[in-house]
């Protein structure tokens, strides 16, 4: 049985179909990759799954909850957390306060500094988030989501703007999440990075699901190569 | 009572034109720069006082009004430099507080300079236009005319000049405008100067019929804020329509319901508009989830 089940999701903004009739199933414990060119609707899909926007049609089921789509607070309540493409943190608060907000006000449990250690933030706890270097800020974004102790985490381009070393570190982190029983839905532009860590991949193009399969199958698929890989190269 | 309706509507349009004239400057600055310039009321006040000073010094009213407007345009740019420029990185909250502080400072400077006793500029256009349906003073007609001309002029500047193009670009997307090489300081200065010009012009014209005193800008700027919300913050047509709407509503409430409820009526309309259509008549959507 799948953890997340997306059925016939469509959404349009002012007459333009951003997503049409998307359906897919994510089993528990995998890293599920989602790629597609700019404007394909990847972030829109994450926004719908996390409750930030409401789809025009379709249903979502997650972990026995059949009532999706849902509000953001409901999504967190049933175990879905997300990060943002342009990393968001509470810029005026320290790292410790950030984590405390997520733990205490968000998830309703005590502050757990284990997450900070795991993400290499333990030396920066008293620094104000707005003054963190970029790489640390991105890790803080992930740490905030993890603080909610989610069952599914939606990562919106976590590797963007990172150095090669940082990307490797992020990859290891994402793999370790699945080891802890967290399922990952990973949106990435960096195809090489995505292919190296994803168990399965979906390809979106102009609001439609073009392909679904293993990374190896994906790289061989002529349609995918045509609309995406062929167009911009790996790191488009 | 109904036979008075044409006259009441004329009253409302005249009153609404004064609101629109004040609101246009405010909405321009907010629309382009996202700055809530509460000190706009004090620019209006200074427009009145400077015109008064010019007329007392023996200048012709129109010359005095033009000189006052030019001076206040410079002052508008100065207000921006002192009040808002240092807060470019700060939140909207800081901008609002800073603006409120600046309006107190300007009020007190005027109090120290001119005192609190109200003054008036002699009306440059005495007389009344009487028609079978309604009569309006030439002064009110002048305000309506200036409001319309001002709106047309503003439209022309925004749509027919290079500067206007830059201003519009910044109001659409500041970052993209900067990338395209638009010089922000020019746009800022121009926007504040034009906005201040509207305030000053309104002050000069209304000062010719109503008393001029240091706190005279408080009520018009409050009304202008209502107008902004009605019309949609940042929208020029919204400021005009919102102004006229508020003017007509106030006059009709005073004329047909109760003059005790005139102010309450205006703000009830404000609250109702924010509830039904928070972005106003012409505003871009900004709805809280």
């Amino acid at each position: 049985m799948s953890l997340l089940s997306v059925r016939n999701i469509s959404v349009s903004f002012g007459g333009i179909h951003a997503l049409s009739d998307i359906s897919f199933d994510v089993p528990e414990g995998v890293v599920w990759g989602l790629i597609g060119p700019n404007g394909a609707g990847k972030t829109t899909l994450v926004n719908i799954l996390s409750g930030l926007i409401r789809p025009t049609a379709g249903s979502i089921a997650f972990d026995g909850h059949e009532d999706g789509p849902w509000s953001m607070s409901r999504a967190v309540e049933i175990g879905i957390a997300r990060t943002f493409q342009q990393t968001r943190a509470f810029n005026g608060l320290t790292v410790r306060e950030n984590l405390r907000v997520a733990a205490v006000a968000g998830a309703g449990h005590a502050l757990d500094l284990g997450i900070a250690r795991r993400l290499g933030l333990e030396d920066s706890l008293d620094r104000v988030a707005g003054e963190l270097p970029y790489a640390l800020l991105r890790r803080l974004g992930v740490a905030l989501a993890l603080s909610l102790k989610p069952r599914l985490i939606l990562l919106d381009e976590p590797a963007v703007g990172l150095t090669a070393d940082e990307i490797d570190r992020m990859g290891a982190l994402i793999r370790s999440m699945t080891a802890d029983g967290v399922t990952v839905l990973l949106i990435e532009h960096n195809v090489r990075f995505l292919m190296s860590i994803a168990d399965r991949v979906s390809v979106l193009d102009r609001g439609r699901l073009l392909f679904e399969g293993t990374p190896a199958e994906c790289q061989r698929n002529p349609q995918v190569i045509d609309v995406y890989l062929g167009r911009g190269g790996e790191d488009a | 009572m109904l036979e008075l309706l044409p006259q009441q509507l004329a009253n409302g349009l005249a009153l609404g034109s004064t609101y629109a004239l004040v609101a246009m400057g405010l909405t321009l600055i907010f629309g382009v720069l996202l700055i809530p310039n509460f000190a706009h009321g004090e620019l209006y006040m200074l427009g009145g006082f400077l015109t008064y000073a010019g007329v007392t010094a023996g200048l012709d009213f129109w010359l005095a009004a033009v000189l006052a407007t030019v001076l206040v345009m410079g002052l508008g740019v100065l207000v921006d430099r002192i009040t808002f420029k240092p807060l470019e990185q700060a939140s909207g909250l800081s901008l609002m507080i800073s603006a409120l502080a600046m309006s107190i400072v300007l009020q007190q400077i005027a109090t120290i300079t001119w005192g609190t006793e109200p003054r008036t500029i002699p009306n440059p256009v005495p007389g009344i236009l009487r028609t079978p349906f309604a009569s309006l003073t030439y002064h009110k007609l002048l305000i309506i005319a200036v409001m319309v001309l001002g709106a047309v002029g503003l439209w022309a500047i925004l749509n027919r000049t290079r500067l206007g193009l830059s201003i519009r670009a910044v109001s659409q997307n500041r970052d993209a405008a900067l990338l395209m090489g638009i010089e922000m300081w020019k746009v800022r200065a121009a926007t504040f100067a034009i906005g201040a010009a509207f305030g000053a012009l309104a002050g000069a014209l209304l000062g010719a019929a109503f008393p001029i005193y240091p706190t005279m800008g408080v009520i018009p700027v409050l009304k202008a804020l209502v107008v902004l919300v009605l019309g949609g913050i940042g929208s020029i047509p919204g400021a005009i329509l919102g102004g006229l709407l508020l003017g007509v509503a106030e006059v009709l409430i005073a004329g047909y319901i109760s003059s005790e409820l005139q102010d309450i009526g205006a703000f009830v309309i404000l609250v109702a508009m924010l509830l039904v259509r928070p972005q106003g008549l012409f505003g871009r959507a900004q709805i809280e989830r």
Partner: protein, 389 residues
Amino acid sequence: MTRKHLLAAAVAAAIAGQAGAAETVRIGELHPITGPASYYGLPESQAIRLAAEQINAAGGLDIGGETRMIEIVSGDTQASPTGGVAALRKLMADGVQIIIGPLSSGVAPALTPIIASADVVQIVDGSIAEGLTDGRRMFRNQATVGDYNLALERLAKARGYDSVAIMTDRFHAGFMESQDDLTAVFSEQGNAVVAEEYYKLGDTDFSGQLTTIAGADPDALIVRGYPSEGALITRQVRDLGYEGQIVWEMVSPPSTVMKNIDAATMEGVLNAIPPTTEDYLNLGNPRAIAMAEAYEATYGSVPGELAALSFDALHIVAAAIEKAGSIEPADIAGAMATLTAAEVPALINTYGAQEDGRLFDETGQVSLPGAVSVWQGEGWVPLTDLAAD
């Protein structure tokens, strides 16, 4: 000019205070010396200082055979209730037990409970709100708003207006409180009230209300409030084609009126209030003229409309102190309650005597009936056929 004089007076007072604190009688005055209401408050404060200087120059007060000088201590109410209470507390903390003021009807009721429970005597020289006096510790030499209305009511009756409209400043506490009584009297007299409209201080556009009033076309339009708005209303209702009689009920110095309306439009407008300083000057009152000349010589400006009241208030206090032969508030209050106008020869205002000849009635209130003046040329002229009895 004015500020310099104030400063000089303050310095003089401070020196006097140090030199002979025991010899002076400290009298506190509470008026809005700063802020928008200072336009009325400052002349009141200065008239009190002027009266005190004149009394001191003439040898001071004779208190049971002992001579003492008057020392004026100023408190700035800033025309706000909390500002007024703070100023009163400050005066009381400085040991002042005699208070003249306040001006604002918004301030006076805030002071009343404090004065009622303290060892202080008060004489109100400005506020016209009802019920500020008790005849024991609190007195007033200004008219009440009821007195204001008397002249108006007599005028409406005498002229036989069949219909009247009323425009009232709803930020004016005194006028708002007495509105119902006024309309009741009008209805009784057969002056039908066809419209009651309101505006507020600082309004500039009255077209909504005035269109309704002009449409009802009453014999008289009564405007109650302050002169800036009064002038604008008069101008705007004439612009709307109203041709009936306009009657004001407001203290309205011609200089302020003329700033907002031209003389031709004002011509023939009536004003029904107790006589002001200006009226007494016009009537050739010698004490008013002497006061105005001294005031101008000292402060370089003409005295305000209410200055005569403040000037009188100090003289009433001075007379009461001499009569009591004591500076104890209870004794002064006792003497004040029995004071007759004849015992205070310096009075400018012509107060109506009580039945037994006293100045104040049982509640500590003077009788100061209103009179009607008409605007002619560039100022008010008393209407003799409707003069106060």
